[in-house]
């Protein structure tokens, strides 16, 4: 047990820049953040850089964190994901992958190698993998590859309404499997 398990204490200590609070944050969440970042950028070295940037950003922006908008974990997760998506976009721009088909192809193969090659930590991932393939793909494209619903619509040639419904259904199914009320 740590006093930082109380998030109100943790947050106020982070705001006053106490080192042990950052250490607690790192110990507790770095694997989750790193996992997401790695899934997005796919390269281990790059993921380390992104994680580093994300933590610096967290410490710089902690004063702006507003607990009414969501938990601390959600907030830092968003920071890490955004950093990772920025890095991904930069990379994509560099390689100028322009054809839609190519993008889909890259993502599909990327997605496939990812979920197979990385070390699983928890059985939860198995639960996620039980989502219907089309729903899982939506979450992959949307959350892990950062495509907007409109972009998915254009890319897959399915109507926006369908994309919206699929994403909502996916989130609702996950809610059920994770047993969240």
């Amino acid at each position: 047990m740590s006093t930082f398990d109380d998030h109100a204490i943790l947050i106020s200590c982070l705001k006053t820049k106490q080192e042990d609070a950052f250490e607690y944050l790192y110990d507790r969440y770095s694997a989750a953040l790193y996992g997401i970042v790695l899934k997005i950028v796919t390269d281990a070295d790059e993921a380390s850089d992104v994680l580093q940037d994300a933590f610096i950003n967290i410490s710089l922006k902690i004063d702006t964190y507003d607990s009414t908008k969501g938990s601390l974990f959600t907030w830092i997760l968003n920071i890490a994901r955004n950093k990772a998506l920025d890095a991904l976009r930069k990379k994509e721009r560099k390689y100028k992958i322009q054809l839609d088909d190519q993008i889909v192809g890259t993502i599909e193969s990327k997605g496939a190698t990812n979920s197979n090659s990385q070390t699983d930590t928890i059985g939860l991932r198995e639960i996620v993998s039980k989502l219907k393939p089309d729903l899982r793909e939506m979450i992959e494209l949307h959350y892990f590859n950062g495509y907007t619903q409109q972009e998915i619509t254009d890319m897959k040639g399915i109507p926006l309404g369908t994309v919206k419904t699929k994403i909502r259904t996916a989130m609702q199914s996950l809610k059920k499997v994770f047993d969240i009320k």
Partner: protein, 283 residues
């Protein structure tokens, strides 16, 4: 629309997955502020994402911890000794204001940019009124909703939009792959007019900044043309609500020897009326 319909609309998923505009984000935050059911849904969806993240945990390289904590410490020390120098990625508004300030002197007209502190104050004061008004509108469930929502958003996020446009502008102006083509006014027609085309030839992308074009007469609209191999190509219409700060994306073109703007009947014409040419630049 009622609360359940609002939840079912999928907007909360979009919020949680980070696919919302500034306006929508504000909307969801307002709604969850007022309605506990919406807040509950928001929190539980955030929890889904948290669980999802937890399920993909991978331990970072062992040496990373010391590196990261070291950098945080360093940077905190730096901040203590040199007060508010933020070394990287301050909040986006700061960035924009800074860019505006640096470029103020060599850029068209940026005086509309409000100072940051006013902007924040403005938003804070407006936010509660905005939340309540917004909730009323969303649940009013009629066709006026969208229209009124738009009006409300225009007044409330007008400044945010302005910031957004400005950033976009800055990005284009700073991008060396964009060529800036100033089109001076035609002496006989409108000598005081100026408009500028920003053209990324390699990617064929064209933006138009109307600078000092006059307001078009009733029923008329400005149309941009590119002269390609001696043939005028329709590059699209300039929406009539433009102002000197507008930055409008026009039709793509990969090659042109000149750009020009004519005033035509609303909706445009297949070929330009030469006597109605306002500005022109040959390359």
């Amino acid at each position: 629309m009622n609360i359940q319909e609002y939840i079912n609309s999928g907007i909360i998923e979009q919020y949680v997955l980070g696919d919302v505009s500034v306006q929508e984000r504000q909307e969801v935050e307002c709604m969850s502020h007022i309605y506990p059911e919406i807040q509950q849904e928001l929190y539980s969806q955030q929890e889904v994402i948290e669980k999802l993240a937890m399920s993909f945990q991978v331990a970072p390289p062992a040496d990373l911890k010391a590196k990261i904590l070291g950098r945080i410490k360093e940077q905190n020390l730096l901040n203590e000794t040199t007060a508010p120098i933020v070394e990287e990625n301050p909040d986006p508004i700061d960035d924009e204001v800074k860019v505006v300030e640096t470029l103020k002197d060599n850029v068209i007209r940026m005086s509309d940019a409000p100072p940051k502190s006013n902007w924040i104050k403005y938003l804070a004061a407006a936010s509660l009124v905005f939340c309540i008004a917004l909730a009323g509108l969303i649940f009013k469930n009629n066709s006026e909703y969208k229209e009124e929502l738009n009006k409300l958003s225009v007044s409330n996020s007008g400044l945010e939009d302005q910031m957004h446009n400005m950033t976009q502008k800055m990005t284009i102006m700073q991008d060396p792959s964009f060529q800036k083509i100033a089109m001076p006014g035609i002496k006989e027609k409108s000598p005081e007019s100026v408009a500028t085309v920003y053209w990324n030839k390699k990617e064929s992308v064209v933006y138009l900044n109307p600078n000092s074009l006059p307001k078009p007469q009733d029923g008329k609209q400005f149309q941009l043309w590119a002269i390609k191999d001696g043939v005028p190509m329709d590059m699209g219409m300039l929406p009539n609500d433009f102002d000197s700060n507008s930055f409008v994306k026009m039709t793509n073109i990969d090659n042109a020897q000149a750009f020009a703007i004519t005033m035509e009947k609303e909706g445009g014409v297949p070929s330009p009326t030469m006597s109605e040419m306002y500005v022109m630049a040959a390359l």
